[in-house]
């Protein structure tokens, strides 16, 4: 397929291990260059889920912003792409078209959809599992397309049992990707993150309703730029080895470890990465291997990138090798791979923020101070200025170098939620190796 983007896979690691060492860490950096030309390269399919629960009217600017943003999203859908709009309350209801199917985007369908959206009003509860189930039904029959959804909510998923949402998510996993947006401050970050993580999408807070239109438009443009659908990391590790974790570490942290599906042979497992356009993402892979003696070499993992089509056929897009070489030369084994170290630090930063905010919520102020202080120190060390700024809205920083902080007495919900949602965003790490003698 000449339309296939070019994928480049690079591995960053210090392959030298001291005698007896058995843990191999590597960053696998994947870049795809757009080798396709604009128009419907690969069919896409789009569903927009808009929260229309009663709370969307408090304040009414939320509902107005949701309508406006959905209209902007509809305008951004490429000609010919089948789409639908779903109103989400304690049930799911079709907004456009009136019955459960997708309509190809053109001037008249866009106009009809926008007219239907303009009539949307708020009223009812919140049951996201229902919304997702409808999106899943809508995508049925579009398995060859790159299926993408947007979910907008302003509240907690309170009109169904948590197990209902979990069940819906497990049905939808691998069926479509979903970017989630929370408007206002009454929604639950952990809940929406569970949806976005399961469906390999992003999560973010839109504290200012006025910015929602631009955000939706960007999400759709990004989705329309996807050229390859179901892409997986295919990880081979030798007999006797154990893949400890596989995480996406850039542009944001997504732990894929639990998402392993059996690969083509018992030593191989597949980890989903969703759809790809022209973009780059970095993954951290950690493999526990049988320890070797000095002079031994081992292929610790082969990381393949494969595209699986609707018929289940896999095409290899690229691959990288993760090696282990045991050495007694301290100059080799002691070398720190900066890429691995930086991402390890950023992952710890995200964990520290999440744990710190949780402790703060639970009233455990000592833990909150310690963890958020640690986060401030790590953000300063890694030059993650964006996160440092967000942290400074939650804690007063006495000394970033030591992580000495005091919890602020008053923190706005928006600031706290912004820090929480964005804590998994990472600063891209420079890849030039600086560790050669």
């Amino acid at each position: 397929m000449s339309n296939q983007p070019q994928f480049t896979v690079n591995v960053y690691q210090n392959e030298y291990l001291a005698e007896g060492a058995s843990e191999v860490n590597a960053i696998v950096s994947v870049q795809s260059a757009a080798a396709y030309g604009g128009a419907a390269v690969r069919r896409a399919a789009q569903v927009i889920m808009v929260d229309c629960s009663g709370s969307m009217d408090y304040p009414p600017t939320k509902m107005a912003a949701a309508r406006q943003a959905t209209e902007a999203a509809i305008d951004a859908i490429r000609d010919g792409v089948p789409f639908a709009v779903v109103a989400g309350t304690h049930v799911a209801r079709m907004v456009f078209p009136g019955t459960e199917y997708l309509v190809p985007a053109d001037a008249s369908s866009r106009a009809a959809a926008k007219a239907a959206v303009a009539r949307l009003t708020a009223g009812g509860g919140t049951a996201m599992g229902q919304w997702l189930a409808m999106a899943d039904r809508l995508f049925t029959g579009h398995e060859q397309a790159i299926r993408h959804a947007i979910l907008l909510t302003d509240g907690k998923d309170e009109h169904e049992d948590p197990s209902d949402l979990a069940a819906a998510l497990s049905r939808c996993e691998g069926r479509f990707t979903c970017d989630c947006r929370g408007i206002g401050t009454d929604w639950v970050v952990a809940e929406l993150r569970r949806v976005s993580t399961a469906l390999l999408g992003t999560v973010d807070i839109v504290a200012d309703p006025g910015r929602l239109s631009a955000d939706f438009q960007q999400i759709i443009e990004h989705a329309m730029g996807k050229a390859v659908g179901d892409v997986r990391l295919r990880v081979w590790a030798p007999q006797g080895a154990q893949v400890k974790f596989v995480k996406q570490v850039a542009p944001q942290i997504v732990d894929l470890t639990g998402r392993r599906a059996p690969g083509p042979n018992p030593l191989t497992g597949d980890y989903p990465t969703g759809a790809w356009g022209a973009e780059s993402r970095d993954y951290q892979v950690c493999v526990q291997v049988r320890p070797g003696s000095v002079g031994d070499e081992m292929l610790a993992a082969r990381i393949g990138l494969v595209a699986v089509d609707g018929a289940g056929q896999a095409a290899v897009l690229g691959q990288g090798l993760v090696k282990a070489i045991w050495s007694d030369d301290i100059a080799q084994t002691g070398r720190i791979d900066r890429t691995v170290a930086d991402y390890t630090g950023q992952t710890e930063l995200a964990d520290a923020i999440r744990e710190g905010l949780e402790a703060r919520k639970n009233g455990d102020l000592d833990t909150a101070t310690a963890r958020l202080g640690r986060a401030v120190k790590l953000a300063a060390e890694s030059g993650n200025d964006e996160t440092a700024l967000l942290l400074a809205k939650v804690v007063d920083v006495d000394d970033p170098a030591t992580g000495t902080v005091r919890l602020k007495q008053r923190v706005s919900d928006a600031d706290e939620m912004t820090l929480d949602t964005r804590s998994t965003r990472t600063a891209r790490v420079g890849k030039n190796r600086n560790n050669h003698s």
């Binding site: 007999q239 030593l267 291997v289 002079g295 081992m298 292929l299 890849k431 050669h436």
Partner: protein, 388 residues
């Protein structure tokens, strides 16, 4: 290790045409003395040739140049003792991830007037040394033996490819230049220039463009009228005199220690105590100082052996007289002597890759029917491993 005394099987007359790959590299317990048979047949086309022929009258193949073959693919099951894997991808076992059996782990080449061995040693995961040998026969006169020993720089990108490319390229240049009648000095300088270009032409580390490939190299041309030695880096050439006490190193290391000793700043003992001792000051490949290679011409005043070796050998036995005693004049076979030297390094710990090549002076006449002339090859062929 193969047993001492093993030698490369002489090419059988009938196997010469077309069956080279199967027979090369096999070893048999053949005595060192070979039957004084006539030239059997042209190794390229199989036509009958006479011993004095310089070229095959049928196909024009050069009959008086013999070249050692590079290491050939080994094949076979996984080298890990507790693994039953038999298939390999990207150079690694599909089951346990061990490196595929590597022909460069250990190979020996015996052309008669020059023989050598290269070995991975015990502490490195692959053999980054390489060697390339040739004999130029002169019908009726004494032959000229050529040896190239290269040691890929460990910290560079894919050093094993740099040493392989350098060894082959330099050997080919030496063979062709000497056949053209060039004097050994200019042939040697040219060989270093060409080898440098060959290493520089290999793609750099895709992850770090600044990390090019690099190798050290020594060359030795052993002719009746003298020994011509070229070097860049810290591989060495020694003269091993039949009177061991008269032996000496013919090269001066391009290393920190070598320079300190040459300057008289430090004694040998002091210099090698420094952690900087082995830091290479010159190499082949990108970023190397653009100076002509070091040259030395040496005319022995009695019989002996020329030894070209990597630091994996001389780190264990640096002293020329000790090396001469170890080689014992090559009596018992040149290949056996080279193997014995490598064994000493391995038994001493095998900390680095080891290469030892021996060439007697005055140059021994080539035995008819040794390793055959091979086509000029590999210079332009990829010497890459698995690039993807």
């Amino acid at each position: 290790m193969d047993e001492d005394g093993d030698v490369t099987e002489p090419e059988q007359p009938d196997a010469a045409a077309g069956g080279l790959d199967e027979t090369l590299g096999e070893t048999l317990e053949t005595p060192i003395a070979r039957p004084a048979a006539a030239w059997p047949s042209c190794p390229a086309c199989g036509a009958e040739v006479a011993p004095e022929d310089g070229y095959c009258e049928e196909c024009g193949a050069d009959l008086l140049v013999r070249r050692s073959e590079p290491a050939l693919p080994a094949g076979g099951p996984c080298r890990s003792a507790d693994c039953a894997g038999e298939s390999f991808t990207d150079g690694y076992c599909d089951v346990c991830g061990s490196p595929e059996p590597d022909p460069r782990d250990h190979y020996e080449r015996d052309l008669g007037p020059v023989a050598g061995v290269t070995d991975r040693g015990l502490r490195h995961s692959r053999n980054e040394d390489d060697m390339s040998l040739a004999v130029l026969g002169a019908s009726g006169g004494a032959p000229v033996a050529v040896a190239v020993v290269c040691d890929g720089v460990s910290t560079s990108y894919k050093p094993e490819t740099a040493s392989a490319a350098a060894a082959l390229t330099a050997r080919e240049h030496l063979v062709l230049a000497l056949r053209r009648g060039e004097d050994p000095n200019s042939a040697t300088l040219g060989a270093f220039e060409q080898a440098n270009k060959a290493v520089a032409a290999l793609p750099a580390d895709p992850v770090d463009e600044g990390n090019g490939r690099a190798s050290t190299m020594v060359t030795a041309i052993v002719a009746e009228d003298g020994v011509t030695v070229g070097w860049v880096g810290d591989a060495r050439v020694y003269w091993l005199d039949s009177n061991p006490e008269d032996s000496l190193a013919l090269t001066l290391d391009d290393s920190w220690a070598g320079r300190m000793i040459a300057d008289g700043t430090l004694t040998e003992e002091e210099a090698f105590k420094s952690p900087l001792a082995h830091t290479i000051l010159r190499w082949l490949g990108p970023g190397a100082p653009e100076e002509p290679a070091n040259l030395r011409v040496f005319l022995p005043d009695g019989p002996g052996l020329v030894l070209a070796c990597s630091d994996g050998l001389w780190n264990y036995v640096p002293d020329a007289a000790d090396l001469a005693r170890l080689a014992a004049g090559g009596f018992g076979g040149l290949q056996a002597a080279a193997n014995a030297m490598a064994s000493v390094a391995i038994e001493g710990g095998g900390h680095d890759n080891i290469t030892a090549v021996l060439l007697p002076w005055p140059p021994r006449r080539p035995e008819p029917g040794g390793e055959p002339t091979s086509e000029i090859q590999a210079v332009n062929e990829p010497v890459e491993g698995n690039e993807q």
